[in-house]
């Protein structure tokens, strides 16, 4: 075994180890969350084909959508080459997958073109962020940290593509029989003698693969975690109409008890007291938490939100970013002690009542989200907590509840007047 093989295997083990630790940590967080049943597996495949692979929702913002689609499709192709590099590195071979023949050449050729296109797209993304022209990248939740996160990931992707093209160009110099359309051109332009190309190839090879390793381990702590999460998130996302809210079964059970008191004497399966709605991060379902991990902070949701557009203190993106932050803050302690409390909560300390009550549940956010996040779930669950647990509803709403209960309408009219519309 060569020395470079040994070094490679060691870095690979470190990479996978750290990555698994991050995933394990998140899995522990998931264990704190509530159940959420998923069914209808067949439909979900078409959802993934359309929204994830087809990038249909991304295209709703055509310019950025087009650039993003290139990056996404490019990644799918380039990943093939990355897998080859890992095999090569472990076994000390050169271009191990070449045995696949024409298919290999085609994939590698496309990977080369995509590397170039992605590099350009990333440069445009960076320029766009610097020139500060994109309103949706700003907002109260977009802290300097969030912006740095974006720049770091974009720079890393650019370097990844740069090193990949460098690697391919050196290969093109060394081996004229290659299948790299772009790198071949670069090789022709660059005045590099084949004697130096070999060393440079090795340099780019190591740079590229190590950047991949670093990138993969930054992802779980960055908004770019969506690179891993978005396809599963789309697969697991809601398939019901956007307008349908979930039914709280615990309430249905309670009502059934009220209506048929004799069943009250039957033993109850679930005796643990359940909290209605969401107050803090551990009250959310695993799916809602997954939404928050998947959020790319693209701000499309907030940019179409009627409340945000009219200067109200509500940003659907903030719901996601805050949930993720709150979980990071509290979960490590909760894992050790189930009853841990720091006196804070997601509701109030992160999401204010003003934000919560400003939502019109218009579903524009959920419609727009490219990774199919369903924001109204958080809104409605926070409201449920307030109303059902604390008996608090914003101003006029208590009166509406009373009217519905007493008169069967949100207005104060008697049911006997229900037919007056006919004769007026």
């Amino acid at each position: 075994m060569s020395i470079s093989q040994v070094i490679f295997i060691i870095t690979l083990i470190i990479t996978v180890g750290v990555f698994l630790f991050s995933i394990y940590r998140l899995a522990q967080f998931f264990k704190l969350t509530k159940k959420y049943p998923i069914g209808n597996w067949g439909k979900r495949i078409s959802l993934v084909l359309k929204i994830a692979l087809g990038q249909t929702k991304i295209f709703r913002f055509p310019f950025a959508g087009f650039l993003h689609a290139i990056v996404f499709w490019g990644f799918l192709v380039i990943i093939f080459g990355s897998i080859e590099m890992v095999i090569d590195g472990v076994f000390g071979i050169h271009k191990s997958l070449k045995v696949l023949g024409v298919f290999y050449d085609i994939i590698m050729g496309f990977g080369d073109i995509f590397a170039f296109l992605i590099a350009i797209a990333i440069l445009i993304f960076i320029a766009r962020r610097i020139s500060h022209k994109v309103k949706r990248f700003d907002g109260q939740e977009m802290t300097p940290k969030a912006h740095k996160d974006a720049f770091l990931a974009l720079s890393l992707i650019f370097l990844l593509m740069f090193s990949l093209l460098g690697m391919n160009s050196m290969e093109a110099i060394l081996n004229p029989e290659n299948s790299y359309p772009v790198s071949n051109l670069i090789a022709h332009i660059l005045p590099i003698c084949p004697c130096k190309a070999e060393g440079l190839y090795t340099f780019f090879w190591w740079t590229h693969i190590e950047l991949i390793f670093i990138f993969a381990n930054i992802l779980p702590y960055s908004k770019h975690f969506h690179i891993f999460m978005s396809i599963p998130n789309v697969f697991l996302s809601r398939i019901e109409p956007l307008g349908k809210l979930n039914t709280m079964e615990s309430i249905t059970k309670e009502l059934q008890l009220m209506m048929n008191p004799e069943t009250a004497y039957e033993p109850q399966e679930n005796t643990e007291p359940v909290r209605f709605g969401i107050k803090d991060c551990e009250d959310v379902t695993w799916k809602t938490y997954m939404d928050s991990l998947t959020c790319t902070q693209c701000g499309r949701c907030t940019s179409v939100c009627p409340a945000a557009q009219t200067g109200r203190k509500l940003s659907p993106r903030k719901l996601m970013m805050d949930l993720r932050a709150r979980m990071n803050e509290k979960a490590p302690y909760l894992i050790k002690n189930k009853n841990y409390s720091d006196g804070k909560s997601y509701l109030n300390d992160y999401i204010s009542l003003e934000e919560l009550w400003a939502c019109t549940l218009c579903n524009a956010c959920a419609q727009e989200c490219p990774v199919n996040i369903y924001h109204p779930q958080i809104i409605i669950d926070l409201r449920r907590y307030l109303v059902l647990e604390e008996g608090k509803a914003q101003g006029g709403l208590q009166a509406i509840f009373a009217n519905i209960e007493n008169n069967g309408a949100p207005w104060q009219y008697s049911p006997t007047e229900r037919l007056n519309w006919i004769n007026e």
């Binding site: 349908k244 009627p306 549940l361 524009a364 109303v387 519905i404 006997t416 229900r418």
Partner: protein, 262 residues
Amino acid sequence: MTEKSFQVPIMSEIYAQGHKPEYLYWVGCAGAYDFRYKKVARAFAKILNYAQIDFAVLGHEESCTGDPARRAGNEMLFQMQALQNIQLFKQYEVKKILTTCPHCYNTLKNEYPDLGSTCEVIHYTEFLNNLMQKGIIPTIKANNNTTTYHDPCYLGRANKIYDAPRNILKNMGYSINEMKRNKSFALCCGAGGAQFFKESEPGTKEICTLRAEQALETNTKNIVTACPFCITMLTDGLKNLNKEEEVQVKDIAEIVAENLSL
């Protein structure tokens, strides 16, 4: 102008006579009590008469679907309303429900099944569009009116009904100048999620004003929509812009009834 008379059968009465109507027309609280929207309920009932549809209403037995309660977080109240209404549907062996209000439509269609309802729920825009396709309601082609159509969130995004209302307008001879934000991109009127029933949070502008501005950008003289809350909100928005004299807000049912001279 005196309105033409029309018949609205009451479920309890005709059921007692042994007749089970094909459709239950779910009037909704707005149809029953909202000053402006009562006119829409009347228009729709007249169209049902005209098309000789076998229907009935629940009258004083109808009770709020619970939609505003649910969206304001009061799941308990919502479920109580729902169970009570579903019981009524079962009692009268209701199979098909017609609604005008998109919020009632969404709740009855998407949310009641979780609590045991098995009724088919049809929105009046789809229903009327169908009647036009079958020739039961005549279409009017010679007309030079233009309008703009505001997609109610609970009809559009929530339930993907975008084409039926537009087809009806076209069948009534209108050409539609779309707003910049239309169909799934449409901006909310600001009433959903129980906002209609509470003070709005502080902001730089009312949502309804912003939407009315977007409608005015199309240079329209009338805005058509298909939701009781949208009508009120857009009218308010126009008032905020001092345009309520020049521009009208109408419901699809009113347009159809007018064109049939009902």
